[in-house]
Symmetry: C2
Subunit: 439 residues, 2 copies
């Protein structure tokens, strides 16, 4: 078997056997197949695609390129949740303790975010003292003892995926559903959970801008999970306007804690309850998702979910007092407002623009290794469907740098679309579920 | 401008500007654009193609990546001839001195062959003492003084083409007409001739197996040449059976010299006269190709072309006595025969298989830098359309190694297709000319 022959095979539209995919990933991971051959092969895949069998084989090969966590010794169901990423998406911070409070273990491994704002790990690390740099052993211990742990991606898991992604990023070969799905799912498979909830976001603030593509990705990942013996559900959700009001790391922690206290934005609470319902159903804890939703609402109202979150923060070294006294979280030096130049109804808030505005303030990273400023970000004052008067505050900007503030303001002032006639047709929170539940 | 953006642009089916192509080749040639980005871009080109303007711009960028020879100071028309390569193709050895004998300068730069047998340089270097390792200055001097010089490709010409071709060869991106045409034409442009004849071969022993592809390549190269202000003609010729009888370096030199003596195979002589007629017409030496053919036949018959060849061999250090006493050329130790197991008419001789058989004897090189054995090869005893009896010699194999001989024999015994009924439908020598002459 030669790498060159595999490139030509895919270029000519033929399919790879599992052995060929294993060979290719093993040769690439060891450096025997040079980057210039892999990038040509990736571009051939971009044009010719991978079929279902190839996509699953690629996922397995990437997962098996490093350590694979095995929770079977714990003797209980372990769940994981993944979001394809969005602006103001603090779902994991609420959903994970909520599900754990219901007695279903959550073991989540998360990357540091590239893009508008930080990822889950960056958000949690804005809590002073909190550490997500766990060993796999400590991660498993926490899942065993507290049903909940959130760990940063380690070098030991899926090294071939990391290497492949870096190459795709530099060669225009990111945008292929099979490659995207295999990359995400390889990390889920290596992370060891047997029950997986995928939240595929679509809209102006999401990686998958079109709904059709989002469903394609949701279906592809679902099928991979099934093929690999996982219990799995993919939910396609809206990311046209930001989720909740807060966009920025510490600001989102505060909003997530408010949600765990029953005082959060309606959309954040609703989405977490819906997604959690599916996860409880999938784990067999309740007879259907609706029953799961009822149970989760109860655990939100009675403080059990908040308590579980506090336990996790404490066990991972974070200062729990921050969760009651928010002034202990990182604070920006300046807060400024963007006001409305006219009266009207908010028809749209472009999540992509809000995200870029937050990034301009320093809430995100453009390159791996960039520092994030946990204190900065944006808090919207209105959401889609609300009425504003001329001069009303549309959003608050938290910044540590007056120049960055100006650039962010310019970007943010274009986010809001105001109209005279109030329309009632707004995007729903959830577009659909794969498979239509119950499977 | 960033290389990544150019990859994505081509991937999405857009066209490059000339500035973008210049940037890309300059960045690649200097090493600032890494191989893994260029190979992804090449695969995108494989799928999305290059339009005529892009192909010419690429040719110019590759030509300008190194030294470009300028014959304008010589004050005369300088011609060049290129063949896309075939089995037993010794055309240049006959055609170049023939045209030069007619008073039209020929300045040919040639690569060492990769494939079944050596290239023109390898063939000439089988003449003891002959050197094609000329400086550009000496090359120009010989063209000035003797109207004829054949030089090996130097490192100073088209370095970016060399680097790009090596990458294409390793990444499954050779087979694209625009890239093939730009690679060939960049070398022709850098070699400085203002008048160019291209011989595009098609059939079982050619790189372009289908006639449609051969015409596509012929047209693409013609258009590039026109765009770059060259007088140019592309001729599509047959390479289903080998040209002449001899396949192998010294064996082909002998056959070429026999042709220059008016005693060569009919097909070799005819093809050289036809191609040469076009070249004389293009150079304005005669009023039409037919008049050129008459003149060339005269120069073949009266010994002027042979005399010109001898002068070139002598000026480039070769032993001219070899051309009269062939035993002074490299000789193989063994000569064996392949005989016919049945009587019949020769319907086909697969040039590809004859070529592979010659390569097995050591007449070609699989990798750059491999040594060629100039003495070995095959001499056919029959051509397509002839009648053979059972036991007749079909071919003579010249070898220095009994093991190689056995392997070559096995390959060669499958080359001949014998039939009972004589058919009259054989491939013509020439399929067509681009443009239909006169342009």
């Amino acid at each position: 078997m030669r790498a060159l022959d595999l490139i030509i095979k895919k270029r000519n539209g033929q399919s790879f056997s599992t052995e060929e995919i294993n060979f290719m990933i093993s040769e690439f991971n060891s450096g025997r197949m040079p980057d210039y051959q892999m990038s040509a092969l990736l571009m051939a895949v971009y044009f010719q695609g991978l079929n279902a069998k190839e996509t699953t084989a690629l996922t397995a090969a990437l997962a098996n390129s490093g350590e694979v966590i095995d929770f079977s010794s714990l003797g209980k169901i372990v769940t994981d949740k993944h979001s394809s990423g969005g602006v103001g998406d603090k779902t994991t911070l609420v959903l994970a303790p909520l599900v754990a409070a219901a007695g279903v273990s959550v073991a989540k491994i998360s990357g540091r975010g590239l893009g508008f704002t930080g990822g889950t790990i960056d958000k949690l690390e804005s809590i002073p003292g909190f550490s997500a740099e766990l060993s796999v052993e400590r991660f498993m211990e926490l899942v065993q003892e507290n049903d909940l742990a959130i760990m940063a991606q380690t070098e030991r898991l899926t090294p071939a995926d990391r290497k492949l992604y870096a190459l795709r990023d530099a060669t225009g070969t990111v945008e292929n559903i099979s490659l995207i799905a295999a990359s995400i799912m390889s990390k889920k498979i290596a992370a060891g959970a047997d029950t997986i909830l995928l939240d595929v976001k679509t809209g102006k603030g999401a990686f998958m801008q079109s709904r059709e593509e989002a469903f394609h990705l949701a279906e592809t990942m679902f099928r991979i999970g099934k093929d690999m013996g996982r219990r799995i559900v993919s939910v396609v959700t809206d990311m046209n306007q930001p989720l909740g009001y807060a966009v920025g790391n510490a600001l989102e922690v505060k909003e997530a804690v408010e949600t765990l206290k029953g005082q959060g934005p309606a959309d954040v609470e609703k989405l977490c309850i819906i997604l959690g319902g599916y996860l409880l159903g999938l784990a067999g804890k309740v007879r259907n998702p609706e029953a799961g939703q009822e149970e989760l609402l109860r655990l939100l109202r009675n403080g059990a979910a908040l308590q579980k979150f506090k336990e996790m923060v404490s066990l991972q070294g974070g200062n729990v007092e921050c969760l009651e006294d928010y002034s202990l979280l990182p604070q920006a030096n300046y807060t400024e407002t963007v006001t409305s130049t006219r009266a009207g109804f908010v028809q749209e808030i472009d999540a992509g623009k809000v995200g870029r505005s937050a990034a301009l303030l320093g809430a995100g990273r453009a390159f791996k290794g960039d520092n994030i400023d946990p204190s900065v970000g944006i808090v919207l004052n209105h959401k889609v469907g609300e009425t504003v008067c001329e001069g009303d505050v549309l959003a608050y900007l938290h910044s540590n740098d007056k120049d960055k503030f100006k650039a962010a303001c310019r970007e943010l002032s274009n986010c809001f679309t105001l109209v005279d006639e109030k329309t009632e047709e707004f995007p729903p929170l959830v577009y659909g579920v794969v498979p239509p539940f119950p499977s």
